[in-house]
Subunit: 292 residues, 2 copies
């Protein structure tokens, strides 16, 4: 797992040299290179590996997913959005480079990610695979995915709900959080040329994992500390934000989390993946130990 | 020309249905559908046509270029950037939908544009052409193109110059303005499967056209009116902004403009394009008549 993270860090650094105008590349690189769990690229690469594929074929796409993730963090942290001053324990992008550069660094990552997929996959993947991966990327990154999630999140914070609270929360969790895990796993499966059945099964795994991950996040926002998370906490509660905990209560949140994690174990077990076992184990440990 | 604009408007409208969450699609569509000259998609389609290609093959990509252009306008107008309240004669995106939605509408257009290229070109272009077009798109849209131009523009406004004023101005004009005309013409040429020689010749045309267009814009910012341009004017001068006019003076700006337009005529003449003649004619008319 740590080796995978190191590999991803190395590749991200390598893929993004500092060019003129330096400020924009430095801004892109600043948030991208903050130490992180690299969960999405790790899952992308591990999916390819456990399906018998060549991980070298998927590394560029895996790194592109991390770039997309970081893009969404940079823009979400902006004063006009969640207005967060910290990210991964450090001042957020606009705090260091200013708002204009933070907007542009996000934009630049959003185009650089697919550029990397195209440039670094040319001799590794077929043209059909590259186009399929790019299509997945655009579809999940945009107004049918990640951005839809963020928009509904903002609307719900402002008290403007079109659907019920339950439906709204599910839409946000699916689109704001699960979407990037699904993208990672789907791309990993495409690179490994797995069957449609496997594709759908692992896609369902990724969705459940994403929902569990967001419930984990909602729980942590109440019980964790700044030191542990590296970002402002208790903000959701203070803002009266719609979260799994605020809507269903802490006990139900923990139960739902455990149910989802068990379903994830059930789907992934036959693949005998140490990396996935470690990811699921780590996530569930904190919740269970807190419940003790 | 007007028929082409109508076709583009119709396709843009068709490509972007309003889905849930409506707010984001409405925000994307608001600036996209404001009446405009559609110069970049017109040039893209006309390039394919005059080279003997099938224009149906390039319409999705041409519309994607307009989406990219509109994305850059929405983000450029943000309070943290150029802080412009008007665009194409109407309140700018963030004035209508708020800053958060304007940032997200730009992000969404930036991923929706390539998504349209992929989804609507599948049976029209070869996979090689699609990947080539997507690569051009990402490369010109990002930190090696459009965004580099915007970053250096912001830096220069803040008085932070790394290179000489002359070099900086040229970099901004090439990357902030010429880049989208080059992208349009390059994609039009790829769709028509023209030779490398033609590709390079028309690329040089597009670059010269882009520089002429920006000098035109700089001149207009001094001599035109809000009614004529549909956006705030005199702002560049008031902000002490680096423009062709501020750096070289009005006479030199007009001379350079005429020189570039003549070079453009020279390159494009053999292709006997009525559309390009009209575009060049319209652009030069206003400058010359003012000079009289």
């Amino acid at each position: 797992m740590n080796e995978l993270i190191e590999l991803i860090d190395k590749k991200l650094d390598e893929y993004l040299p500092i060019m003129y105008p330096e400020n924009i590349f430095k801004a892109m690189k600043y948030t991208l290179m903050l130490p992180g769990k690299r969960l999405r690229p790790v899952m992308c690469i591990e999916t390819t590996r456990m399906l018998g594929g060549d991980i070298n074929k998927v590394i560029p796409s895996a790194c592109a997913i991390e770039m997309l993730h970081v893009q969404s963090l940079i823009h979400d942290d902006l004063p006009c959005m969640d207005n967060d001053d910290f990210r991964r324990g450090k001042p957020s992008n606009h705090k260091v480079f200013g708002e204009a550069n933070a907007v542009l660094a996000g934009d630049a990552l959003l185009t650089y990610a697919p550029q990397i997929i195209i440039e670094k996959s040319q001799n590794l993947l077929t043209q059909t695979q590259i186009i399929k991966i790019l299509h997945e990327f655009m579809n999940f990154a945009g107004a049918y995915g990640l951005i839809a999630g963020q928009v509904v999140d903002i609307e719900s914070e402002a008290g403007r709900l079109v659907k019920s609270k339950e439906e709204t929360l599910k839409f946000i969790h699916l689109n704001k959080t699960a979407v990037l895990f699904r993208l990672a796993v789907r791309i990993g499966t495409i690179a490994a040329e797995a069957s449609d059945d496997v594709f759908n099964e692992l896609d369902s795994f990724a969705e459940k994992f994403g929902l569990a991950f967001q419930i984990y996040d909602d729980i942590m926002d109440e019980i964790s500390s700044f030191e542990e998370l590296g970002k402002s906490i208790g903000k959701d509660k203070a803002a009266g934000k719609l979260t799994y905990v605020s809507l269903y209560g802490m006990d139900n949140a923990k139960n739902k989390f455990n149910e989802l994690i068990n379903e994830c174990y059930g789907i992934i077990e036959p693949y005998k993946s140490e990396v996935y076992s470690a990811i699921l184990g780590k996530l569930s440990k904190r919740i269970i130990s807190d419940g003790e």
